[in-house]
């Protein structure tokens, strides 16, 4: 969500949504609420404010002191914040960015893709599964290399 934290004096040009967010934020402060979610004429807005939790309950114990669990694919590492629609892997398998090594990629980084267009293939159990773009837009991020193993739910690409 492209919210930039503007100065106090809000310009008149501000969109209706941003204005609404400001108002909601003010209500948060005023009422001591921590979260507001609002569906309003098709626009859904959620604002929330974290409490300063001082409690530090030891949620995840340091079980891994000797053999750290190496996640096969580097999905966790690769998820820098680039906004857009993520294409998450619907299955486990080996991802291919082009139909064959000699051919160019289904979709090059920075290019425009169409919703439903095949942007990569995932091979699982000797079957090539064509993976389609979830929406039309610009391919702004490719998190994987060709022939890389991927796991379920991993963010493979981001389309803006």
């Amino acid at each position: 969500m492209p919210v930039k934290k503007k100065s106090a004096a809000s310009e008149p040009k501000e969109s209706a949504e941003l204005s609404l967010i400001r108002k909601l934020a003010a209500i948060l402060d005023e009422t001591g609420l921590t979260e507001i979610e609002l569906d309003h004429k098709g626009a859904r807005v959620r604002v929330s404010k974290s409490v300063q939790m001082a409690s530090m309950v030891h949620s995840a114990p340091t079980i891994q002191h000797s053999a750290p669990a190496l996640v096969v694919a580097g999905s966790q590492v690769a998820t820098e914040e680039i906004s857009g629609t993520p294409l998450k892997s619907p299955m486990v398998g080996t991802a291919y960015l082009s139909p064959s090594p000699e051919l160019p990629a289904f979709a090059a980084l920075g290019s425009m893709v169409k919703e439903g267009q095949t942007v990569l293939i995932i091979e699982a159990m000797k079957t090539m599964n064509q993976i389609a773009a979830p929406k039309s837009g610009k391919l702004v991020k490719v998190n994987i290399k060709n022939a890389q193993p991927v796991e379920y739910g991993e963010v493979l690409m981001v389309i803006q």
């Binding site: 949620s59 995840a60 079980i63 891994q64 190496l70 486990v92 398998g93 796991e151 379920y152």
Partner: protein
Amino acid sequence: MFDKILIANRGEIALRVLRAARELGIQTVAVHSTADADAMHVKLADESVCIGPPPAKDSYLNIPAIVAACEITGAEAVHPGYGFLSENAKFAEILKSHNIKFIGPSVENIRTMGDKIEAKRTAKELGIPIVPGSEGGVHDIATARKVGKDIGYPVIIKATAGGGGRGMKVANSEAELELAVSTAQSEAKAAFGNGEVYIEKYLEKPRHIEIQILGDGQGRAIHLGERDCSLQRRHQKIWEEAHSPALNAKQRDEIGARVSNAMAKMSYEGVGTIEFLFENNEFYFIEMNTRLQVEHPVTEAITGLDLVQEQIRVAAGAALAYKQSDIQFSGHAIECRINAENPLTFIPSPGKVNDVHFPGGLGVRVDSALYSGYRIPPYYDSLIGKLIVFGKSRAECMMRLRRSLSEFVVDGVETTIPLFQKLLAEPDILDGHYDIHWLEKYLARTKM
């Protein structure tokens, strides 16, 4: 031996398999649903692969995902644990076609023993005692009388087409037989449109006793004694012990020999369990589980064998390392299944576990994937750990069980620990006097 195996399961059994593999120097791949990303077996495995969303059908039962996980990690074999795909012949078959070893028996053996009717027929053929009864349907009272005389009373008359208790009648003597048969026939006709009935020996207060076997798929098989799993609630075992308080060494040797001979004839590979009802010193085959059993640790305790390591060894092609005469039983072991459930209502209690403290000391084993701060997901079964206690005698074992239950802390969710503490105050439990109905009756009696 394998270099790398994939563990197609979760929870305590995934951890159990991981430990065995690690002790054999084998690399492990954990697979998990998104709900289990923080699970112990995932943290401890050498590699892990997320295979799907929380519902088991989309992850732990998702055959293509598991095969693909083998492919991308290069795992040579799959250990299925128990439940999920462990007795799925199709899974074993698909793995085979991908040149991945299924750690378990052959596809044929799984299939045969997975079919109730086929299993019973095979058991009978191989000399395993089954419930005596009529061969097929009984149509007239004369035949019924003959069957009754042959197998002895009480008998139960069941609808061939039946199920769910309808069309079932018990006759305690020949005097009751005619009425029972005709009533069963008309009930069966009314309920299923088919009045055919058959007759079986009726067991009133049987125990559930099962024999653990181990085969190498090369014609050798041994038995590892029995487990008594009579304490059940809704057909779920909650307490298992070895040996059974009801069996003596001669009975054990006899049934064990029968069963292991049968398994040798089948060229059975890996571990398996033949389940029996046991009444008046007779065994009656129920079914065979062609996989590792939840309660396998009690057998490990009294034999000293690591069943999972043995499973992996024979799967890798090794011949059985033991003859029957190598197997020495010593002591007594009891397992309590610790479930995240209210100990009175048995309503599941998933959620965050604030603090976990396992009992320790001599003769105490805990198999659990819990840790402090772990969140028990609501999607899977409620077994969160097993407490296995060993002692030189059953009496010592019971005292140790009492002691270790009092040290077991799981804070944040409800568990069945208090139930076991209450059971240890029951004279029947202390004396080993219980059958498969005991626990249900006890729970009904103490509900007030």
